[in-house]
Subunit: 213 residues, 2 copies
DNA sequence: ATTTAATCGGTATTAAGATACCGAATAACT
DNA sequence: AGTTATTCGGTATCTTAATACCGATTAAAT
């Protein structure tokens, strides 16, 4: 039975914002929150928030009161995978790769980077934040041994496709791709792209337009 | 005269992919490329590529031949702001901030990080990649002196709003926000958000759904 | 107890982007 | 020279997400 993406891509994108906002509140077991207040607090359209929260909330909101913050946080965390820990490996220990290894915020979402890899032997000396950097030849073994499910690609774009294929062969189920290319893989593999250049492009294009007028 | 975003957000997001792909080709002044071949090369829907390229291309494509790669690269670079250099400042020299300072790929898009700032005095010892890290008290002066137009926010989310406001007061026109919150600023300020957590959320949610069936 | 105000959940409308289609143009082939 | 194949550019359709609307519900106020 095909359990389709119940939630739209954009909706899932907003969920971390809600979670982050709720956690920033000073709340206890009894604190309630309305979708309206979330919307104003986050500066997002109220209707959107209402829809999103309704989609992921296990409890029904109480008119004139709202929802329990504690329960809502739990629901959000469940959808964002904070419940179960997922093991990940990272390929490419350049600046971006190192930044991600150092970043401690991912554990909040259940992401556990258990090993890093780099083709350059010089990079293997490092032990970033307690995470070992291994040779690419060990990729397959370590992924299978540690049951890693996510591969994080932070290699240059020309190497990304071949790295992705190696990851898939080793049994990786999902890829978080930071290289500015579209990976060509079996549709069953889940791919999420983060393209800094794309984001920057939007910015400078807008700036360019504004400077025109 | 309001020169509206002629190009859709999604379209602008794809432009860097095209540029990156074209540059990866081994081409000279005479090399031609068709939108079809770009589409297959990048694994993107051909119709989408056709529309995007038609929107930004200054020349008309020749049936059965395609377009000059050189000219297409020029057009793309123009839209992505590679032509004019824009000065930027970065606030928050944590791991992510450092990664961005070290990243050399931005100059390709005309982005020039001319200074970094951090509220923590310990961070100011560093001189990352030739970029000085200053005290926040110097923010206003340096932005005005160097005519910085873009502010890059890589501080924790609780500090992001106040930093953004300081940037706006100093005359910053656009903000590249890496903190996982929606900034509440004057609509005239251009804001582009990069939210790693959101991207990760999509991934782990999909993975979660797949593990169900 | 009644009224009031605010919230929820569902439905309807609108806007936008992705996709498909079709005629025109032209280089390559016979 | 005529035919064929391929690509372009414009139009039309379809799908999806954002937005607006409306009735139902219920806590708080009178």
């Amino acid at each position: 039975m095909e359990k389709k993406d119940l939630l739209s891509h954009n909706c899932i994108t907003r969920l971390p914002l809600y979670l982050n906002y709720l956690k920033s509140l000073d709340y206890d077991d009894l604190t309630l929150v309305s979708t309206q207040s979330i919307a104003t607090g986050l500066n997002i359209n109220a209707e959107v928030v209402k829809k999103d929260i309704a989609a992921i909330s296990s409890e029904k909101g109480m008119p004139r009161k709202g929802r329990s913050v504690v329960l809502l946080v739990k629901d959000l965390e469940k959808f964002l995978g904070a419940g179960c820990q997922i093991n990940a490996v990272l390929i490419g220990t350049g600046h971006l790769g190192k930044a991600l290894l150092n970043y401690d915020g991912f554990s909040e979402y259940g992401l556990n980077i258990i090993a890093a890899f780099d083709s350059d032997p010089r990079c293997r000396e490092i032990d970033v934040c307690g995470i070992n950097v291994y040779s690419m030849s060990l990729l397959d073994n370590i992924i299978k041994d540690k049951h890693a499910e996510i591969g994080i690609i932070t290699v240059p774009s020309h190497a990304a496709q071949s790295v992705a294929e190696k990851l898939v062969q080793a049994g990786i189920k999902a890829i978080w791709n930071f290289a500015p290319i579209n990976l060509n893989l079996d549709p069953s593999i889940i791919v999420a792209n983060v393209n800094m250049a794309s984001s920057l492009a939007v910015l400078s294009h807008q700036l360019y337009l504004n400077n025109l007028k």
